[in-house]
Symmetry: C2
Subunit: 732 residues, 2 copies
């Protein structure tokens, strides 16, 4: 933990405005809205609003991207002709603050502004994406003239001039219209994928003024003018309805209907319903960590960002690596979802976890196609997944801005552990929820068809009399095309073993479903015997002398490098020494053997070997991925290395809040967020399932006064409290 | 207290580098050294190093300034000809951090840097101002080549090209020389005041390389060249001796002798002695606040900045409003010292408090001259004080950069409460320490001669049959030239009353000293009777109907303004609405009636009136001075307004650490630092003296798990612990 005698200064990325845009994202699991400033119509992209599932592939692009929705936040505000904003010739900012309240998922911005003419105005902006009516977005501006009585002119509408940083255009030319004197609408469809989106916005006010429509093709707006009286507060509310063809209806009609619902309800009713929803969410999802306000805040911040990205009413979409808060990784879905973000949802909001797992179920055809194309059987899930379920990992990085050099990306071909990771998330979901219907109808099929993939994927090494898995990438992506990655091999063995148990359960409890699946997936006694043979004879690289796992064949022949000496830094080791050069070095991108210990614990090795593994691999970790620190914290806590665990936990907590990877502008590191929760709950608190239900085995760092959280186990709520060495469980 | 569901963004000043320079100041009570970067020879002023007492007045300036000492931190470092620094054509910063460790008063900076040629080097800089040998400054650079074997060239010396931001030159042309092949020296004297300063620096290294002298008149340096081996750590240590004519010897000889002592000891011995000293300091001065790491850190940060500014061996200097950490307020001494910074020292490091009070004793002639010049008797201390004890408050502000407008400063003439404030600090010191010798020989004289000033200052209002004090400025400096400021009048009454008690004590216990003082200060029965008459009949403005104090005559005739609505902001209300305009508004710069309640508590009014005062004056406070939030927190805590008290305390804690006044670049807000400690100890913990010794009456905000601190009472250490509703006192 941080020494409270130390005052630190960290090197952060230069682009603080873009980082704040990410941190201050609001959302409701259908749409995410980055924290752009209302007046910033000179923003480079206006890429504020991202709706789940609207993937589009552009000729000349490398991979499908999430098409940005129109920018609905804009307001142009003038007082006596002075335009509110950062331009110091127009006025000066006397003070400003933004507060993201994760308790009710609202972003509030307050600015005290003085026009160049001397008037002083307080502007308060509040925004939220309704958690109750997912098609409704709300922005309210309250203006109070504290000094002077300026003439106010305000306009706002929907700006369609959005783009991604890549500059590619994703939309057909926008159609626009006006359904009412104070409202406008826009609609278009994505060029390649043909998703239609419509958005309608009304600008309503308590001003005694008539709206004027400003017909600008690309940016239709509504405007008002009025003189302010000193001390008077007026409000202008922007109500937005949006809908897409993914919901099955007529997007424009649906968007207009949503706008009409919002208008009927009004701001207050919309807000109170929204807040009541979030109160219920936090009743289940909140985690209390007393004794460290920064960590407390970071935990809630992280849970919030997962919660606003998780689709409540859609099981055809999943959460991308950067949630809906940024353009990073093109909103593609990685193992980040199943091994990092799903877990907190499984235990606290299981209906959301189920939707995310169903996304994978619906994409079994894509996974089967990938297996077939690679010469395998069963379901081989794509490393990066978008809407179709195909492999969408790009094959090359974009050219380096300085050198022009591109790097070949091999993960789409070689990083194969994802299929087991999905099975792991399913088994966790099943064990914690007891949702047998899900398992019977969907989960079993994913697990079993994944097992078929592994059974076809392993290679028999006759000389060594063992099964191997060669030519893979493990979680440590610095080393590509390695043989017998211990994470991959162990998870494959676990997967096959698990599949056998699932098969036995299904055959016993749901014989008809077992029979049907047995037919479609060709699961028979021969297949099951082969699985068992592989389980018994798959190679798990282990050094008997040193009593440690070997990350992959030849790992210890790599050139040693003293990774821990390369401090402080925000640049990865390959970023310093070169991508190819680093492949020859004994440096690990992220938790690999350590990740395996987090997931499987005693199933991997006893405590003594686990300690040896830790001492071997921890010093080699580059934390070149944001996924790494939380997993290390989890394992360090289990092994009783509490000081180090606390430090790693703080590292994970800082990733976005202090931009300590230098790339938070691209979006929230969703996996690290989910990892933080897991490190706390599974690591420090030691939550685990026993025949008597969930139990704790806590190891808290000094200074953590109280930890409290709730989880659902088979539909029953269990509230755990750790305080002063005592643990209490309250059921129900 | 901060809601842990909120993520905030604050508007901070743009100049983060200059703020960090202030925060990362090191010092030893003789010299303060701002956190300039070692390689930044393009820094606008090179104003890093400030030695107590070296005031100098420049023709064309408005007031004496502390002349900046030469810049001794500079190091020019090249690897294969690439120059270390921020220039991206030379290389790139892979990571950087600075850590100020207030436990041992060292600043450590670590940078991982890659040359444009590809070599990777870790640079670690450590610096401290020896707490054991105040004439010694130390900077050590450790260099490790992690990748590559570059040729290193390094040079460093003493840069005399320093200036203040004003651009005025304070020094005669510098003489330079070299006492050894690896060392240089410089010396000069201030142009007007004639203080001589000498500094000598040696650059020593474990490199196998010979030093070369670089004779640059203004910046004499020593240089080394050597090839680094990969993985090898080499160190270069800059040892500096400095001395001034204020210490009475030959500055150059003394600086060279200090350098020689440092050289003989070497870095390790210097550091361990320094650290041991600071361990003892913290044994007495540390405050533990468990449950809020930010506040914990802020408290230690604040104590540190007072401790490194308090002179341990010199009772002819005092601490300026910005300590030795910046050029703000020209290092002048205000009431900030006696009412804010002295208190924590009085209770934890009384020898330092005594030095600061002795500074005022030595300046009695200046105070008497000011009284005389204004037609009064006794000692009237100058509002701003430098070396001579004369009034050095400038009469005009510098011209506004935009409007060119200057504002007349009246505090030098009209803000007169300082004389009582000094008496208050003396009485606190005496009561807590029991240092009768100080009181007999020095303290009594200050208190009694101050009382003479007040007795001559008050005006008889025959119509009202009362004494008044008209034409003053109270702590609320927004209202100049007011009559009967309740703070000033009440403190004057308290001062006269206190002086009578001091006189009785002195007459009783030390009749010879009483007789001598009675003669020189003309204290006789008539004088004492007059004091009593004033005490009995001085006007204390009070509204009987509302049961509140009236800040000054006519305060409630001022135009009301809703101060609390002007949020958020970092600009003062006069900065927004104009200086003259604000004089007509009912807005208070800082705690005034509230400050009085902090100092005198029940002596001012009972709890009921105190509450009324709070409800009246708190909403009017602009906190336009950094002195305000901590005083408000103190009083709010005493009145049981714990939420507000916590908020105000956090506001005070953030002043420098989050630059929430936007001017931390000018130096640490020393008064707020001392106020923070007082708010905790006197406010939240409720420390007070009783006939049985010091006792607590704690009111802690929720979430503060434990508060612990020690104070000395009459030479005996008392350790207080507040935890879970229990209070314990340990003596000895």
């Amino acid at each position: 933990m941080e020494d409270h005698f130390l005052i630190r200064e960290h090197l952060a990325g230069p682009d603080q405005a873009a980082v704040s845009e990410t941190l201050f994202t609001i959302g409701n699991g259908y749409v995410g809205v980055r924290g752009l400033l209302e007046e910033d119509d000179a923003h480079p992209t206006l890429d504020s609003t991202r709706v789940h599932g609207l993937f589009n592939f552009i000729e000349g692009g490398v991979s499908p991207d999430l098409a940005p929705a129109p920018h609905w936040l804009g307001l142009t505000i003038e007082f006596d002709g002075y335009r509110f904003g950062a331009d110091t010739s127009q006025g000066r900012v006397l003070g400003a603050e933004r507060i993201l309240n994760v308790r009710d998922a609202t972003l509030t911005r307050r600015v005290l502004w003085q026009t160049a003419g001397g008037s002083v105005i307080r502007l308060t902006f509040e925004r939220f994406a309704s958690a109750v009516d997912q098609h409704v977005l709300v922005l309210r501006l309250s203006v109070m003239a504290l000094h002077g009585e300026p003439q106010m002119h305000i306009s706002g509408g929907i700006d369609t001039r959005v783009s991604l940083a890549s500059g590619f255009q994703h939309w057909e030319p926008w159609e626009t219209g006006s359904p009412a004197p104070d409202a406008v609408w826009v609609r278009s469809r994505t060029l390649q994928s043909g998703y239609e989106l419509a958005m309608a916005a009304a600008l309503v006010t308590d001003l005694d003024a008539a709206p004027a429509l400003l017909a600008d093709g690309a940016h239709p707006q509504v405007a008002y003018s009025a003189q302010l009286a000193q001390g008077q507060t007026i409000t202008i509310t922007k109500l937005v309805g949006l809908s897409t063809s993914r919901e099955g209806g007529n997007p424009l009609a649906d968007a207009l209907a949503a706008l009409e619902r919002a208008r009927q309800a009004g701001y207050d009713a919309l807000y109170y319903a929204h807040r009541a929803h979030w109160e219920r969410v936090w009743e289940d999802s909140d985690v209390v960590l007393e004794g460290d306000p920064f960590l407390q805040r970071a935990l809630r911040f992280c849970l919030y960002h997962i919660l606003i990205a998780a689709p409540p009413h859609d099981n055809q979409v999943s959460i991308g690596a950067k949630t809906l808060s940024g353009a990073g990784y093109r909103a593609h879905v990685f193992w980040d979802t199943e091994l990092f973000m799903v877990q907190p949802l499984t235990l606290t909001q299981p209906h959301l976890a189920r939707n995310l797992l169903m996304y994978r179920y619906h994409r079994l055809p894509g996974a089967r196609a990938k297996a077939k194309a690679n010469g395998f059987e069963g379901a081989m899930f794509p490393w990066e997944s978008a809407d179709t379920g195909e492999e969408v990992t790009p094959q090359w990085t974009p050219p380096d801005p300085v050198t022009g050099k591109r790097i070949r990306i091999w993960t789409g071909e070689l990083e194969q552990h994802l299929t087991s990771d999905i099975a792991y998330a399913i088994m966790q979901y099943w064990h914690w929820t007891g949702d047998d219907a899900f398992m019977r109808d969907y989960g079993a099929e994913i697990v079993l068809d994944g097992a078929r993939f592994w059974a076809s994927r392993v290679e028999w090494n006759a000389a060594e009399n063992r099964y191997e898995i060669n030519h893979v990438i493990g979680p440590d992506e610095y080393h590509e095309d390695v043989n017998n990655n211990v994470f991959t091999n162990t998870m494959a063995r676990w997967h096959l073993d698990t599949a056998r148990q699932v098969w036995d359960w299904l055959s016993d409890r749901h014989p008809e479903q077992a029979a049907a699946l047995g037919r479609t997936l060709s699961i028979d006694t021969a297949a099951l015997d082969r699985w068992q043979t592989i389980i018994d004879r798959i190679y798990i690289p282990f050094d008997d002398e040193r009593q440690i796992h070997i990350q992959f064949d030849g790992f210890f022949d790599l050139e040693p490098v003293d990774v821990l000496e390369y401090q402080p830094r925000i640049v990865s080791l390959p970023g310093i020494l070169g991508h190819e050069e680093s492949a020859h070095l004994r440096v690990i991108k992220q938790a690999d053997v350590v990740m395996l210990m987090a997931l499987l614990g005693e199933q991997v090795a006893d405590q003594s070997v686990q300690r040896n593994n830790w001492e071997t691999y921890y010093p080699l970790a580059d934390h070149g991925s944001s996924l790494s620190p939380a997993m290390h914290a989890w394992v360090a806590a289990r092994l009783g290395r509490l000081d180090l665990a606390g430090e790693l936990f703080e590292h994970a907590a800082e990733i976005d809040l202090r931009d300590n990877k230098g790339n938070s502008r691209d979006g929230i590191h969703g996996a690290s967020c989910g990892g933080l929760w897991q490190a706390l709950v599974f690591g420090f608190a030691g939550l685990h399932l026993t025949p008597d239900g969930p139990m704790l085995d806590p190891h808290l760092p000094p200074g953590w006064e109280r930890v409290q959280f709730a989880v659902y186990y088979q539909g029953e709520r269990h509230t755990f409290k750790i305080e002063g060495g005592d643990v209490s469980i309250e059921r129900g």
